[in-house]
């Protein structure tokens, strides 16, 4: 596997997780969670601290990163989101409140980095997590393990939402909170769970992302536009759309830009961050409801029909 493709797959998996988390929180509590940025960064620092202080491969600290992200989500829900929702806050207020929370988390991250720098004599502000990785099938293990982690996690999430009683209650609350409340579903518990899962996905995504790009205190802040781009590309009203959107944006940033630079020259590399955003804008112009709004079944049905006709003609 070419190194640019391997890194692209890791990055795309990380964006799928984070964009999925943003979509889930927006669908459940109408909140664009800007704190996703620092939650992702904290996920990276949990894994980094585990690897450098506890030893072993970074992947064994991923569940811990998810848990820390979940706790941060609960704090955000009970400390900010729930009181504001109860006062009937509009979307912009909910969004700005998470921006404040993000700044608090960023300060905590900086303090923690100071602690690691001065007390532990480490270099936490520029970390290449590759050094903790190992080789698997001739490539960095991250490029095999992390797409698998993303697939397993997202499949588990799908099964949770479809097969479990609480998952069904969650979907019902997301789709129609009034009706769900009338049916006796505790919406408070549902929203809290959404924040646990959303926060966990942010932290897990940040931990995964640090295996592709340099880990810094602003890791999440630098990539938050792409997390949102993924969620918006997905359509914002479909969890699966958000996940797919994140993956497409991530892979475009690597594979798409590399392909274009080979075709048109190295000047394209300067627009690396613009290319996925351009793709998002173009997709939304054609499909205003994003990837989730594309009639995939009809599209595949038509393609299957065309292929069938061709086979019939040959026969």
């Amino acid at each position: 596997m070419a190194p640019w493709l391997a890194t692209g797959l890791i990055y795309a998996s990380a964006l799928a997780l984070t964009a999925g988390g943003i979509t889930l929180l927006y669908m459940s509590t109408r909140t664009f969670n800007f704190a996703h940025a620092s939650m992702a960064t904290l996920g990276f620092y949990v894994v980094y601290s585990g690897a450098v202080l506890g030893g072993g491969v970074p992947y064994k600290y991923f569940p811990l990163a998810f848990l820390v992200g979940g706790v941060l989500g609960v704090i955000c829900y009970y400390g900010l989101n729930r009181p504001l929702l109860r006062r009937g806050a509009v979307e912009i207020t909910l969004m700005m409140s998470t921006l404040g929370y993000d700044l608090i988390l960023l300060s905590v991250i900086q303090m923690y980095c100071d602690y690691l720098t001065f007390s532990r004599k480490l270099f936490p502000r520029r970390v290449s997590m590759n050094v903790f990785d190992f080789e698997l099938f001739g490539v960095n293990a991250a490029s095999v393990i992390l797409p698998l982690v993303a697939i397993v996690f997202l499949t588990g999430l799908h099964l949770f939402l479809v097969k479990t009683k609480f998952g069904v209650a969650m979907r019902a609350t997301i789709e129609n909170p009034v009706l769900a409340g009338a049916s006796g579903i505790n919406s408070d518990r549902v929203y809290m769970s959404a924040w646990i899962i959303g926060g966990g996905m942010a932290a897990l995504g940040g931990a995964a992302m640090s295996m592709a790009v340099t880990g810094t205190p602003v890791l999440g802040m630098n990539s938050i536009p792409f997390m949102f781009a993924g969620a918006i590309l997905g359509g914002l009203h479909s969890l699966y759309g958000g996940i797919l959107g994140g993956f497409v944006v991530g892979l475009t940033e690597y594979a798409g830009v590399f392909y274009l630079s080979q075709k048109f020259g190295p000047w394209v590399l300067g627009y690396r961050m613009g290319v996925p955003l351009l793709l998002m804008a173009a997709t939304l112009l054609i499909f205003p409801r994003g990837l989730a709004g594309i009639p995939w079944a009809v599209l595949f049905g038509n393609l299957a029909g065309i292929a069938g006709k061709k086979r019939g003609a040959k026969a």
Binding site: A2, P3, W4, T7, G8, Y11, Q110, C113, T117, F118, K121, L122, F123, R125, R126, S128, N130, V131, A212, V213, T214, T216, P217, V218, L219, N222, Y254, V257, F258, S261, Q262, G265, P266, L269, G270, R272, M273
Partner: protein, 422 residues
């Protein structure tokens, strides 16, 4: 009811605090000898971002210098004390300017830093308009060598470093040189100076150049492109040992080397760096990147502190950073020590007046650094920049330490090797 009670208590507390504040001046001890005045210098250093380890070094050195200045002021019974405030520019131009504006609003007229040329350029117009004196320990862009502005630099311009970088390539027998550089004021200036010098030395510059976004943290795609350029040169009959790559970067060199490490043939070409990478603690701390640097004999240039005088603070500063940060400090942090002392000496002579300090700074810096200078003797030219400097050449050795293997003599335009690299 309960809510009203809580609101009442809060109001009472607020009123009590207001009155406590009002009464503050009336209390306290009886008037005695006047307390010394405090003058503030703000250190604008990149504690985060791609120069963070250099910023940490300079911040620690600035605090050390301020403590030494205060000790001297006390000993001399002077009626003022120095207060040093460290601010993080995040290696980001708008952040650096915002910090300068904010402290200027508090009445501060003297700044040490910023370190990066991009940040210094952002601050320049505001500083010129408001007569704010700022001295950078490490901004080297030739574009900022401007006479009569309010920026002084205790380092030399890259008009001197450019030939030093190109000279290394010439000595390594390079015939084709590829440039990779961060697209900011510093990177553009040094790349231009190096490329011009390389052409004069008869080295061909590869037409495809990689100028990258300074915000970039991952170089996978750039590494793939670079490998393509080397393939192209090899297919045209150039042998790998005649190909050189000059990387003009800050501490993003670590992820850059991690990315290029995936291409075996890139370990067989010659690699050169600059003052942005020499003595980088971040590069040492990354096992993959530092191994790549050792294998390719990655050579970087950095200001050569002049021969230490008997009273030079060079060893003193070096030992302090080893004790506090457990690492070897970089060459520019010695400039920071001299900046704080020069400013303090000038303020002591003419007061906290930026115009008067500006007028005497070259003389004060000259006099103080001639005897005590941690970075050697600082002589400023008409643009307010350090006039002369040679450049040490640094490589990482097998013991994973930065080793000085020679120096570029700018006046003789030659490299004096203490350990021959090529």
């Amino acid at each position: 009811m309960k809510r009203k009670f809580v609101v009442g208590i809060v109001c009472l507390l607020a009123v009590a605090l207001i009155f406590a504040g009002c009464g503050k001046k009336a209390e306290g001890p009886a008037p005695g000898p006047a307390a010394p005045t405090t003058h503030t210098i703000v250190g604008l250093f990149p504690l985060t971002g791609v120069l963070s380890t250099f910023g940490e070094n300079s911040a620690e050195v600035a605090k050390l210098a301020a403590a030494d200045v205060n000790e001297w002021l006390e000993k001399e019974n002077k009626n003022w004390r120095l207060r040093i405030v460290i601010e993080d520019t995040a290696t980001d131009p708008p952040t650096g300017l915002r910090k300068m504006q904010s402290w200027f609003g508090e009445g501060v007229k003297f700044f040490a830093g910023p370190q990066a040329s991009g940040v210094a350029r952002e601050c320049l117009a505001f500083a010129n308009a408001n007569k704010i004196l700022f001295i950078s320990p490490s901004s080297t862009s030739p574009a900022l060598a401007i006479a009569d502005d309010w920026l002084f630099r205790f380092c030399t311009s890259d008009a001197i470093q450019g030939p030093a970088v190109a000279k290394m390539a010439q000595e390594a027998g390079v015939e084709q040189l590829i440039f990779v550089w961060r697209g900011d004021t510093w990177g553009d200036g040094l790349q231009k100076a190096s490329a011009e010098a390389a052409k004069k030395f008869g080295i061909n510059i590869y037409p495809q150049e990689l100028r990258y976004d300074p915000m970039l943290e991952d170089f996978t795609v750039q590494a793939a492109s670079l490998n393509g350029y080397v393939n192209d040169l090899v297919s045209k009959g150039v042998s790998l040992d005649k190909i050189g790559i000059t990387v003009i970067s800050f501490e993003e060199i670590a992820p850059f080397f991690t990315a290029v490490n995936a291409y075996p043939q890139l370990k067989q070409v010659k690699w050169f760096g600059s003052d942005g990478t020499a003595m980088s603690a971040a590069l040492l701390a990354d096992p993959i990147a530092s191994k790549f640097a050792i294998e390719t004999k990655f050579a970087s240039t950095k200001n050569r502190p002049e021969a230490a005088t008997e009273k030079s603070r060079y060893d003193y500063v070096r030992q302090h950073i080893q004790k506090t940060l457990n690492r070897d400090t970089d060459a520019y942090s010695y400039n920071t020590y001299d900046i704080i002392w020069s400013l303090a000496k000038a303020i002591d002579e003419v007061g906290y007046d930026s115009e008067k300090v500006k007028a005497i700074l070259p003389r004060v810096a000259d006099e103080w650094t001639k005897v005590h200078g941690a970075s050697g003797h600082v002589v400023l030219n008409e643009a307010g920049d350090r006039a002369f400097a040679d450049y040490n050449i640094w490589v990482i050795n097998d013991k994973l330490e930065w080793e000085n293997v020679g120096y570029y003599d700018s006046r003789a335009d030659k490299i004096n090797w203490s350990r021959k690299l090529y």
